[in-house]
Amino acid sequence: MEIIEVNQNNFEKEILKSEKPVLIDFNANWCGPCRMLKPILEEIAKENDSVKIASINIDDEEDLADEYGVSSIPCLVFVKEGKEVKRSIGLQPKEAIEEMIGE
């Protein structure tokens, strides 16, 4: 699966009402570690059909970042049935992310 860009308009549909669990990647273009994380997430997205991976740009979507209390990026939030179950901050190796989403 591809990484889905999420904004205020599709947030409810893609995250809150998603049938699959969602791993949200809060990121920004100027954030080096976020850019390092992106290819890792792309790989996981490709290899994995049971989890949806969503990208939220914190500069464009300040309200969504606020809603999740994000104050450090990269920040990964794992959401099941609309509710946050796990969170990690900072660049993570692939294994740690796979563990987070329960592979």
């Binding site: 080096g32 570690p33 390092m36 209390g69 104050s71 450090s72 990026i73 969170r87 190796p93 692939k94």
Partner: protein, 304 residues
């Protein structure tokens, strides 16, 4: 059997890989997290020769591709132990044991913590170790920076352009950081310096609300802040090698400009080594020296 295993894919390690590959040695680079090292947090590098401006991410990616295209194997595993059997060495990761003729330790360093209560649990909830990464979340808010070196001064300057107020807290009466940055800071109306003082406690509900600051006479004050940026230096990541590699009291590898450690065939390159100047260009320089020394060692021991 590898000719050289390089532990750490930052500027020192990847430069070493480039030199070793150009000498046609069989090279494995082990990296615990992600290539690039701490330079990926730098927005704009302005002091690397021939690059007037380049982002840390772009620099790291170019360096990584260069090493990879030259044929270095780069594997994402953490080296947890190294062993010396004289004629060869072993590097152990949670998944594998690798054999090699030489090892280059280029593990770099990690952020030093304040080691006060609640610090760990408030990371990402008000506590940060990277102003350029997290500053944007504190627009028009009040923040404190703790530290006295270049990073602390640069962080304070960067934040002063974003936030409402910056408190710069330092345990001494003068700063170690560059005069030019300090002078720029002194011109900023929204930067308040609190010298001869330490941050002794963090007050939080779900996120950081205020900090307790104590001066040398023991006077305490509470300062309301939304963020605390910790810039009190770095700690070398050498603990896994302590059993065979000599470290100084601060944990840096006792290796001189030739990058030789106390063990023959094991070299140290970059920020994890005892040295005066820790810069991108000196890390790259160490990588070149360590690789050259390793190549010499391999060629001298070929008949073994």
């Amino acid at each position: 059997m590898y000719d050289a295993i390089i532990i750490g894919a930052g500027p020192a390690g990847l430069t070493a890989a480039i030199y070793a590959r150009r000498a046609e040695k069989k090279v494995l680079v082990l990296e615990a997290k992600s290539y690039g090292g701490q330079i990926i947090n730098t927005l704009d590098i302005e002091n690397y020769p021939a690059e007037e401006h380049i982002s840390g991410f772009d620099f790291a990616t170019k360096l990584y591709n260069q090493a990879k295209n030259l044929g270095a194997e780069i594997v994402f595993e953490k080296a947890v132990e190294i062993k010396d059997f004289k004629s060869y060495k072993e590097v152990i990761t949670p998944r594998n044991t690798y054999q090699t003729k030489t090892i280059i330790l280029a593990t770099g360093s990690e952020n030093r913590k304040l080691n006060i209560e609640k610090e760990e649990e408030l990371i990402g909830k008000g506590i940060s170790y990277c102003a350029t990464c997290d500053g944007a979340f504190y627009k028009k808010k009040r923040v404190a920076v703790v530290g006295g070196g270049n990073t602390a001064l640069e962080d304070a300057l960067y934040l002063s352009n974003l936030v409402d107020t910056v408190y710069l807290i330092h345990r001494r009466d003068s700063f170690r950081g560059e005069e030019a940055t300090l002078n720029q800071l002194k011109e900023k109306e929204n930067v308040q310096m609190i010298l001869n003082s330490n941050v002794v406690a963090l007050n939080a509900t779900d996120r950081l609300k205020s900090i307790e600051v104590e001066d040398l006479e023991g006077n305490k004050q509470t300062i309301e802040v939304d963020g605390l940026f910790v810039a009190v230096g770095r700690i070398p990541e050498n603990e896994n090698f302590r059993q065979i590699i000599q470290l100084d009291s601060a944990g840096y590898i006792e290796a001189g400009e030739d990058c030789h450690t106390n063990v023959e065939g094991i070299y140290a390159a970059g920020d994890n080594r005892v040295k005066e100047v820790r810069q991108l260009v000196t890390a790259a320089s160490d990588g070149a020296i360590a690789a050259t020394e390793a190549i010499k060692y391999i060629n001298n021991h070929q008949e073994d």
